[in-house]
Amino acid sequence: MSSGQEAGSSSGGSGDGGAAAPRRNTRKPKYSKFTQQELPACKPILTPKWVISVFVLVGVIFVPIGLVSLKASRKVVEIVDRYDDACVPANTTDKLAYIQNPTISKNCRRTLKVPKDMDAPIFVYYQLDNFYQNHRRYVKSRSDAQLRDPKKANDTSTCDPEGTANGMAIVPCGLIAWSIFNDTYGFVRNSKNLPVDKKNISWKSDREHKFGRDVFPKNFQNGSLIGGKTLDPNKSLSKQEDLIVWMRTAALPTFRKLYGRIHTDLKKGDTITVTLENNYNTYSFSGKKKLVLSTSTWLGGKNDFLGLAYLSVGGLCFFLAFAFTLLYLIKPRKMGDNNYLSWNRNPAGR
């Protein structure tokens, strides 16, 4: 015998009876493709043909760029000469004592042989190794206000320990200016001097904005320790381009800085005699000093990195394209049905 249902067993909640009156303002959200997230969109599907084509395209673009860059870099003619060890007298046992003794002559003569034709302009650089211009104490030891404005000559609070000497402010102050590079170079070819143009070796913005036209060196290198080159007190800082070049600090311990330009072409087989003064102390911290003569191209100096990087990536793309092509031909995998993708499914199943 079948029993009936229990009566009125639903618990809680009051049910509204009767027909609802037609509402004036419904709360249904407005329809637009943006609010319902139905805007058209591009959904790429990585088929083997697409992948191989993209890899080939990248390879075709990158390998020529790499070759052109490498060729431009290889066209640069560069002469590098290290002289800090060679210029020490043969009988010297203590290099530090030698470099610090002002009575010993620091003149040195070096001979360079030109391996290829060098077209003007030829850039003369000095290169330092193991010199940390990026040390925090070194980098902070300067006063930009003082370099720019003659009224701020006494603004030396950030220049310790080279802020004042004998109770008077140093202009320019700070460790960077104090330790300016002080070697000099002269060039002779076939018993004739090669003039070195030392104008415009610094940045134009530095000369015009960061170093004042009315600021003159004062009390410079007057302390108990002399760190580097002395400056002409009668020349304003904006014209002391050696100082401006040196005060643009290098980010890495190995760096080159521009010394000057030679506007004479050098021929292959020429012999250049360099007369230099070995004044700067790199012996206490095991540094190196090098003289560099270099031409330049549209790419800059001699640097193979960019060309090799482009060639590596392009070669990798070609290799991947070839590998995928072999994989696609030898063992093809069936493409899945696009209808199973979520945006192709029936709206009813959504």
Binding site: S2, S3, G4, Q5, E6, A7, G8, S9, S10, S11, G13, S14, G15, D16, G17, G18, A19, A20, A21, R23, T26, R27, K28, P29, K30, Y31, T35, Q36, Q37, L96, F131, Y132, H135, R136, R137, Y138, D160, P161, E162, L175, W178, S179, L225, G227, N281, S284, F285, A348, G349, R350
Partner: protein, 501 residues
């Protein structure tokens, strides 16, 4: 000696938390069941922290980056200390351009350890950009925009209740869609908490031409196109009234007056309109009446009575007021019934009764309940349509409907006075066997009833609104599948379940 009138303290007088008190001018208050030992206080717990998966993953990433930052700073400081100490050897500076002989504590070679420690803090500050603190702000902005999209989603709008989606907070947007299983038992059936009056049996005659969801599903499985066509045809023609899905021209629009048992039908509809605890709410502008009910089937009964000519429009503490269709004159007549007693429904009794006095002074007992308890209380002298009604009830149950049996009885004054005295005394007692005394007093009256008929109510459109299969949510339920209103796995299995219960 005048005896003071006493009132019982029954569950009807208790206002639980979040209850509403209506139509009451003043009350005497008694505070009971308070303090921390009550169940509601013991259940009060601290709310768990809501942190989404994305935020927990971001925390892990931030900790990883912080560890990397500390590691980099420590290694850098160690090397800084070593090189700073080496700058001065035997009083002679190595890196002379740094002036290690004239130095502050930050770069002093003679106190390299302190310089290294200070450099650690300097490095932590300098490399602090390594930690993406703004990542939290970016994620929060993305979640805010996502919440706006959720609020504007048309697929999450419910037409029937005019309810759009509303993301109250954007913390847990990506935790949507986590439900994969619903566990329920028989008493917690998966319905929409709305019921529709669809069929009834009055004086042995079945009324109502609607097709239920279960019947439609079985017809579809058999492949009967006739029933399906009739169902779709019927569905489109009638206007939608909430809770009323009844179609039968024999009794609608006042046609029941000309039926052979019109007296029984009149009493049937009157019972539907009186025997309940609904409260009517009249809309001031449109004049329509809606009902607040304890359960949706009560509301469905009152709506059905209204649609068939017996409109319940007012209730006071002591009376119930109707607009009745008078069979003799064919017009709507206002009738009032004095409500003497209400015998509440509970799971043990499985029935509910009211005792009312009409305007002519007659006393009636109206009762409705499950057929298992109602049939045994019927008068033995009335056998005309008892078996037919039982057959109708079985058919309704097979079709997935919930049934109630309706019966009534007229009381004389002496009988009622005797009951009133015993019932009031039982209600006012505070002894342990109070419930038994109330049951005993009610049992005196709820017997020798006259059968009127039975009602059939369907749970409203559960399949259409709760499409479990398409969402991938699994449902596990005890006993038979009829309560879930889902198509049973096989027809024979369903029948065996039905017969076994």
């Amino acid at each position: 000696i005048e005896i003071e009138e006493q009132y019982p303290l029954s569950p009807q007088q208790i206002l639980l938390r979040d209850s509403k008190l209506r139509n009451t001018e003043y009350v005497y208050g008694v505070v009971i069941f308070t303090g921390h030992d009550t169940k509601v206080m013991q259940n009060a717990m601290k709310a768990p922290s809501k942190r989404s998966k994305i935020e927990r993953k971001m925390d892990r990433i931030i900790y990883l980056l912080l560890s990397a930052l500390v590691l980099i700073s420590v290694i850098g400081s160690v090397f800084f200390g070593i090189t700073t100490r080496d700058d001065l050897q035997d009083g002679r500076p190595k890196r002379w351009y740094l002036r290690p002989d004239d130095s502050t504590i930050y770069f002093k070679p003679t106190k390299a350890a302190i310089s290294a420690i200070l450099h650690f803090f300097t490095a932590m500050m300098l490399y602090g950009n390594f930690i993406p603190i703004s990542l939290y702000i970016s994620i929060e902005i993305v979640k805010l925009l996502q919440a706006l999209f959720i609020n504007q989603d048309i697929h999450m709008y419910h037409e029937e209740t005019d309810t759009p989606a509303h993301a109250r907070t954007s913390n847990l947007n990506e935790e949507l869609g986590q439900v994969d299983t619903i566990l329920t038992d028989k008493t917690g059936t998966l319905t929409c908490n709305s019921m529709e009056f669809i069929k009834c049996s009055i004086a042995g005659t079945a009324y109502g031409r609607g097709i239920t969801e279960v019947e439609r599903a079985m017809a579809k499985r058999k492949g009967s196109p006739l029933i399906a066509d009739m169902a779709s045809n019927t569905q489109g023609s009638q206007a939608a009234i909430k809770g009323f899905n009844f179609t039968d021209e024999r009794v609608m629009n006042g046609n029941w007056v000309s039926q052979p048992h019109s007296g029984v039908i009149q009493m049937f509809l009157r019972l539907l309109a009186v025997c309940h605890t609904c409260i009517p709410e009249v809309d001031e502008e449109s004049g329509t009446i809606s009902y607040e009910a304890e359960s949706p089937d009560e509301a469905a009964f009152v709506v059905a009575a209204r649609e068939l000519g017996f409109t319940f429009y007012q209730r006071t503490q002591t009376g119930v007021f109707l607009h009745e269709l008078d069979p003799s004159s064919g017009k709507q007549v206002d009738r009032s019934y004095k409500l003497l007693h209400v015998l509440e429904f509970n799971s043990a009794r499985k029935r509910m009764s009211v005792i009312v006095r009409n305007e002519e002074g007659k006393i009636f007992l109206f009762s409705k309940g499950a057929d298992s308890v109602m049939f045994e209380r019927l008068s033995s002298s009335d056998c005309a349509y008892r078996e037919v009604t039982q057959d109708h009830i079985n058919e309704y149950a097979d079709a997935g409907l919930r049934t109630l049996v309706l019966a009534y009885r007229q009381l004389d004054e002496a009988e009622y006075a005797n009951f009133d005295r015993k019932f009031t005394a039982a209600k006012n007692s505070v002894s342990a066997d109070r419930d038994e005394m109330i049951e005993e007093a009610a049992d005196l009256l709820e017997r020798k009833l006259i059968l009127l008929g039975a009602t059939a109510v369907e749970f409203g459109h559960a399949l259409r609104q709760f499409s479990v299969r398409s969402t991938g949510v699994g449902v596990s339920a005890r006993r038979d599948a009829r309560d879930l209103h889902l198509p049973p796995p096989s027809q024979s299995h369903s029948h065996s379940q039905t017969t076994s219960t």
